[in-house]
């Protein structure tokens, strides 16, 4: 692939100033290298390699939250025993990304900044109420993204990467010269249970068509609180608060699940003109959500439930 230059940034300040001059930040490169090759969009851009900046690799716990450096690789995080124990939903989502080779290079910060609607990690971070710490500020993840209707339109997200050379400037609120340092993920409440499910064309390593992340607590068989996010459906990542409100205080019986499905269908209808494969996704997403909630209530995984 062609690029206009390659800078191994020694510090965040170096990287930030290179980005302010129009450089493209590269960490693992698992998306950039694909885009650059298939569409030759970096021929006049400097690639700014941030993977050598030490502070982007730190993981630590502070004030009830875990802070994860943006350049941590997914396999490194998945192998972190403390993280597996403290943030099992996030680890579950990360293990669904690509194959071993991809996870060995891909970084958590890159996944968030790339802002692919089919990201497996973003829905998990959304329901965990994560924040993005940049070189300038801390932004709740829910406010980090901007609508990107283009993503939903091209080839139903079966292509592997987005159309924009610099996804960060098109799909996030990052300013030129602003870099993501870390993600701050609050620890879930004690007794929380979670579920992650990825619906893809095969059980191999493809992108998600639709995915689902849930985390919440039950009290005496009744939903005390439940946060839901689904990828692959909306022009920007969101939590399905309407569905959560329907579920709160119920035991998620069949009639409640019907109302949850209706709430999602209504929210999805707003995307009917924007979402490729709407006919398929508008049918499969509510069913997947209801199945997921039923599995969540039973303390099951959806993989096991669907195999039966």
């Amino acid at each position: 692939m062609k690029a206009g230059g390659y800078l191994r940034a020694a510090s965040l300040a170096d990287a930030a100033s290179a980005r302010a001059r129009g450089g493209i930040v590269i960490a693992g490169g698992t998306d950039i290298m694909v885009k650059g090759r298939s569409r030759n969009i970096y021929a006049d851009k400097v690639l700014v390699d941030v993977s050598g900046i030490g502070e982007l690799h730190l993981v630590g716990e502070r004030g009830g939250a875990i802070e994860i450096g943006a350049a941590c690789t997914l396999s490194g995080l998945c192998a972190d025993r403390a993280l597996r124990e403290r943030l099992p939903l996030l680890v579950d989502a990360m293990e669904h990304v690509g194959g071993v080779q991809t996870r060995n290079r891909a970084t958590i910060g890159g996944n968030v900044v790339n802002a692919c609607p089919a990201s497996d990690i973003i829905p998990a971070l959304m329901v965990l109420d994560a924040s993005v710490r940049t070189t300038a500020r801390t932004i709740p993840l829910a406010d980090f993204f901007v609508d990107c209707p283009h993503c939903l339109k091209h080839e139903g997200m079966y292509v592997r990467s987005c159309l924009f050379p610099d996804a960060a400037s098109k799909k996030t609120v990052l300013e030129p010269g602003e870099l993501v340092r870390s993600l701050i993920v609050p620890l879930p409440r004690a007794g929380s249970r979670h579920l992650f499910y990825k619906l893809a064309r095969t059980q191999n390593i493809g992108l998600a068509c639709v995915n689902l992340a849930l985390i919440g607590t039950l009290l005496g068989g009744v939903v005390e609180g439940l946060s839901i996010s689904m990828g692959g459906l909306f022009p920007r990542p969101c939590t399905l608060d309407g569905c959560s409100a329907v579920l709160r205080g119920t035991s998620a019986d069949v009639s409640t699940l019907d109302r949850v499905k209706a709430a999602l269908a209504e929210k999805l209808a707003a995307e009917s003109g924007a979402l490729v494969d709407y006919g398929y996704k508008s049918r499969v997403a509510p069913a997947l959500l209801a199945d997921g909630i039923a599995a969540f209530m039973a303390g099951e995984t959806l993989e096991r439930k669907r195999r039966i």
Partner: protein
């Protein structure tokens, strides 16, 4: 051009590489190491899997300029002194047909066993999930890897051995006994033709 120093199969190299030049092009085009194959070129098929600092990575997605100080091992690096046990196991288990995916599969397996010498069958499957094979159906490759691995995957091997025994019977023309031979006596004096 960017100067970068790294080792490939133990040999040190200092090269001037283009800013977007991929590791696979350096390996195949500049160093003549054509054992690493390029399949999809977009990080899906795993044919170009090599070890970078001991981890399996797709050489088609690695910018060569990012490799300063890194240690790269390709499939050629496994067989400096005879075949690697994994390579021999792939031969023994006939885990090869066209062979295009084989270097990648072997390197993924090598990375797995270096880190976890006694993987379970599920761990083997996870380790090679990023390697597409259009010929074998994976079972022989999994058996080959399990045969080199420790005890964790033994149960699978026994099962595989059962299958091989069955197919040997078929080739030898030995029919499977479906019904006990005494239960269906021929009709007396009859010619059912």
């Amino acid at each position: 051009m960017i100067e970068v120093s790294f080792s490939v199969n133990g040999a040190a190299h200092t090269l001037r590489v283009g800013p977007g030049e991929r590791l696979i092009d350096v390996l195949r085009g500049r160093l003549g190491l054509t054992g690493t194959k390029e399949g999809c070129g977009i990080g899906v098929c795993g044919a170009c899997t090599v070890l970078v600092d001991g981890r399996a990575e797709n050489a088609c997605l690695v910018p060569a300029a990012s490799l300063e100080g890194a240690s790269v091992v390709t499939v050629e690096g496994l067989s400096t002194d005879g075949l690697d046990p994994l390579q021999q196991a792939f031969l023994d288990h006939h885990a090869i047909q066209c062979g295009f995916c084989t270097p990648g599969l072997v390197m993924s397996a090598r990375a797995l066993l270096d880190e976890n010498p006694e993987p379970t069958e599920e761990e083997i499957r996870t380790a090679i999930r990023g390697n597409l094979c259009r010929c074998t159906g994976y079972e022989q490759a999994i058996a080959a890897i399990a045969s080199v691995a420790g005890t964790g995957a033994r149960a699978l091997l026994d099962e595989q051995a059962g299958l091989i025994r069955s197919s040997a019977r078929l080739e030898a023309g030995v029919p499977f006994a479906r019904t006990p031979p005494t239960s269906t006596p021929a009709p007396e004096g009859g010619d059912a033709r």
